[in-house]
């Protein structure tokens, strides 16, 4: 059980890293883009808008005074 936990933890840290918001936000935006593309909406602008926004939110959160 401990091994599985450590294994899962390793991959979580490896892929998701320090801020889960970035991963969740990116996956949500990609899902919306995918659905839009399959409904004949060419939402190429979506990721270029969402990515810097996500980064900005994550960085402001990490840099706020504690």
């Amino acid at each position: 059980m401990n091994f599985l936990k450590a294994f899962g933890r390793f991959w979580y840290d490896f892929i998701v890293g320090d801020d889960w918001r970035l991963a969740i936000g990116a996956v949500a935006a990609i899902t919306v883009m995918y659905v839009a593309a399959h409904n004949d909406v060419n939402a190429w602008w979506l990721l270029p808008v969402v990515v810097p926004t996500l980064l900005c939110v994550s960085l402001l959160h990490a840099s706020r005074p504690r």
Partner: protein, 251 residues
């Protein structure tokens, strides 16, 4: 052509930066406890990394390119954002820069304190060098496999990684001390920008959208990600200065 160039460059930079970190650990253990077990540990780690790339690379080449780009683009985007986030925090002063000299000294002290096996393989040296090289190299293997896989050209990404490995090893052999002058954070920043750019571009292609200007859009996305990241560095630097000034006044 542009894609291939970026592929080699991203693999080269990512591998250089990770291998500089691995070299610090290997040097500290080797200098303190001897080279035999350290080199065996390092070679075993490289062997394990080669197996990971050899096993996953061909497996990815059988997946249809659009599904592959959607899946890999998503992974690269998440991975790239993490690299970029850390690099921006370091560039703006919110996170300490990697200090190879300090890490070398820390590893050296730990190696001195650890018990020594009387005969045969020195397991401490083997384990620490294996772990250092394998864990640092795993990120490179991930980048090589995903980056190369999304263009169905793992070989080209491997060339970039191996070239970096040769350069770092050669410089390490010559100077025989941690490569503390390598601008690690700048290299990580560039890799973060490239991973994020390709993540955005390939995810879009995999999802079925059409980029304005087709492949040429890649350069536009690259410039956009680079400029917005540099903008965030500037904003965060100012924020850091304000926080530091307030702390001085409060003290």
């Amino acid at each position: 052509m542009t894609h291939d160039l970026f592929l080699v460059l991203a693999a080269f930079l990512a591998c250089s930066v990770e291998m500089v970190e691995a070299l610090t650990i290997v040097l500290a253990v080797g200098v303190t406890r001897g080279w035999r077990s350290t080199i065996i540990g390092t070679a075993t780690a490289f062997g394990a990394l080669a197996v990971v790339i050899a096993a996953l690379g061909p497996a990815l080449s059988v997946i249809p390119i659009s599904s592959l780009r959607l899946f890999i683009g998503t992974l690269l985007l998440i991975f790239g954002l993490q690299w970029l986030r850390k690099a921006i925090l370091r560039a703006s002063g919110f996170k300490a820069l990697h200090d190879e000299d300090a890490i070398f000294e820390e590893e050296r002290q730990a190696a001195l304190a650890a018990e020594r096996d009387r005969e045969g393989l020195d397991w401490y040296s083997f384990t620490v060098s294996f772990k250092g090289v394998f864990l640092e190299g795993l990120e490179v293997a991930f980048i090589v496999v995903t980056f190369g896989g999304a263009q169905h050209n793992v070989g080209l990404a491997t060339i970039g990684a191996v070239a970096a490995l040769v350069v770092v090893l050669a410089v390490g052999l010559v100077v025989h001390k941690p490569l503390s002058r390598v601008p690690e954070n700048t290299m990580k920043f560039v890799v973060g920008v490239m991973l994020t750019t390709f993540g955005i571009f390939w995810t879009g292609e995999g999802a079925g959208i059409e980029w304005p200007g087709n492949d040429a859009a890649l350069l536009g996305v690259l410039a956009y990600v680079l400029l917005s990241s540099l903008g965030l560095v500037v904003v965060l630097r100012r924020r850091h200065e304000r926080v530091a000034a307030r702390t001085v006044v409060a003290a």
